[in-house]
């Protein structure tokens, strides 16, 4: 446990030196302020200009969904970048034979950041939400957001072997969150093409106000994470 905490602190002190990574950590609060203040203001202006009663309001749920993913995605992106840098320096290979071990390394780079992202989202979402969210919905959005962030992180570290590739994979992996659009914009049978995406089920649960959809949202995310962890464990990148 001591080693895991030390390893986590190491990552934080590492992030402090890198302005880009540091900025990524600060982004969730900025984004929250912009969404919370900017979107209703924009809605007001748009409605007056187009002389319609509501334009963005029906999609406020979608804003909350995306907002719940911001902190986890940013945190997990930052850890993924640190992990890729550690891979470049071959630190990951060495840590396996220290008191930290492979499991401790994963704990300090995947599970601990995810837990923190979850708590941060749980705090930020009630501050910056646009729709009324029940406690269950807040918990659910924070959880799916966190799982989504972890999936993106694991995709980055399993599919890329350096920071440059990591950037490219990040763009692709982040597409996964677009599944959230489908329940809002696609007709019923067609939207199910996205049913392997947790973000799709999460959006369905919010859009259709049906708690049952929370199960496949968490279930699909669990399968993604399980598979990626397995691939990561059996195919450690070798130089």
């Amino acid at each position: 446990m001591k080693a895991i905490c030390k390893s986590f602190w190491q990552m934080l002190s590492f992030v402090k030196r890198d302005m880009m990574l540091f900025a990524a950590c600060a982004a969730p609060v900025l984004a929250g302020i912009i969404i919370r203040l900017g979107v209703p203001l924009l809605e007001d202006k748009l409605a007056k200009w187009l002389e319609l009663p509501r334009i963005l309001t029906p999609f406020y749920g979608l804003f909350d969904l995306f907002y719940a993913m911001i902190a986890p995605t940013m945190f997990c992106f930052v850890t993924a970048m640190v992990m890729l840098e550690e891979h470049d320096d071959r630190i990951d290979e060495y840590l396996i034979v220290t008191g930290l071990g492979k499991s401790g390394y994963l704990a300090s780079r995947v599970f601990l950041p995810a837990a923190i992202a979850f708590v941060v989202t749980l705090v930020l979402l009630p501050l910056f939400h646009l729709t009324e969210l029940t406690v269950l919905e807040t918990l659910f959005l924070s959880l799916t957001g966190t799982l989504q962030g972890s999936i993106i992180e694991l995709l980055i570290v399993t599919l890329s072997s350096n920071k440059l590739e990591g950037m490219a994979i990040t763009k692709m992996a982040t597409m996964m969150i677009l599944g959230a659009f489908l329940p809002y914009f696609m007709s019923h049978p067609i939207q199910y093409v996205a049913s392997i995406l947790p973000s799709f089920w999460a959006a369905k649960a919010i859009y259709e106000q049906n708690v049952l959809f929370m199960l496949p949202a968490v279930g699909t995310a669990g399968v993604w994470i399980g598979c990626l962890l397995m691939i990561h464990a059996t195919h450690p990148h070798q130089k």
Binding site: A3, F14, R17, R90, G99
Partner: protein, 281 residues
């Protein structure tokens, strides 16, 4: 310290490491000597519990390697054949971090830095270190938690003579502190100088295992080689303990006709070639 019994391992379906048996005693420097690709690093990785898919038994510090837990590494120090440091961080920051990963408090960082002459470079980024400095730094990283067992993968390779000498002295210093040391090398001179026993490894098999001295002696004693002129140059050689029976040599000496004469001990290199049919390089 280490018992290996009937060890088999392969990365692929083709057999690689086959039927290996050996033990390493406490306080011993044990060397794996073999050419590139022989399986030296692979063997170390098995003993470090990094390749749990082996058959047979490999017991290190009383633990079967495939069942190791993180506690296993509290008493093992590792220096891989490549540098494993945060290149952007300073030497001291690196050592402080790695040291903090162990339950044990270990050895003072300043003392270790001084021991390898890096005390004045400790605040430089590792990226700015020379190759020799990096290998010394990686070496003391393995000592941070004062482990009883050291795994050193090619600790002397690619170093200039001064750094090579220093590294060997450092290793011998650790032996004095009663550490058990497992090292790999393809340099027979380093093996002769450092190791209490060496295992000749080629193609995933151990061909011979003994002290460097015994291995050298086992394959004939020192030979004397001499040349003389007799319608062109002739060369002959004879074991040093049979010189009195060599009539050609007696006659050449009596007639003062020898052009050259020298004795040569077989090196570990010669023995390696003779036993495995392969060169070390």
């Amino acid at each position: 310290m280490i018992q290996v019994n009937d060890l088999y391992f392969s990365y692929t379906t083709k057999p690689f490491i086959e039927a290996m048996n050996f033990t390493v005693e406490k306080g011993e420097i044990f060397g794996f000597l073999g050419p590139s690709g022989a399986g030296k690093s692979t063997l170390q990785k098995i003993l470090l519990g990094m390749l749990p898919g082996y058959r047979g038994s490999a017991i290190v510090n009383g633990t079967e390697c495939r069942h190791r837990t993180n506690r296993f590494y509290e008493n093992i120090g590792v220096d891989f054949e490549f540098s494993t440091m945060y290149e952007k961080l300073s030497a001291r920051e690196n050592l402080q971090f790695f040291s903090s990963l162990y339950e044990k408090s270990g050895r003072p960082i300043e003392e270790l830095l001084e021991m390898v002459g890096l005390q004045n470079d400790a605040d430089k980024r590792v990226a700015d270190f020379s190759k020799g400095m990096k290998s010394r730094l990686n070496f003391i990283k393995a000592l941070l938690h004062d482990p009883a067992l050291l795994f050193l993968d090619e600790p002397t390779s690619g170093l200039d003579p001064a750094n090579n000498r220093m590294m060997k002295d450092l290793i011998l210093e650790e032996k004095k502190r009663e550490k058990t040391i497992l090292l790999t090398t393809h340099n027979m001179q380093d093996a002769t100088e450092l190791c209490d026993r060496v295992a000749f490894i080629a193609n995933g098999k151990i061909y011979a295992l003994d002290s460097p001295h015994n291995l050298i002696m086992s394959k004939g004693a020192t030979r004397v080689t001499y040349t003389w002129m007799d319608h062109g140059e002739h060369t002959a050689s004879c074991p040093i303990d049979r010189l009195s029976g060599d009539e050609v040599l007696q006659k050449l000496i009596a007639q003062n006709r020898l052009k050259s004469i020298h004795s040569s001990e077989p090196t570990l290199n010669d023995i390696f070639m003779e036993i495995t049919g392969r060169t070390l390089l």
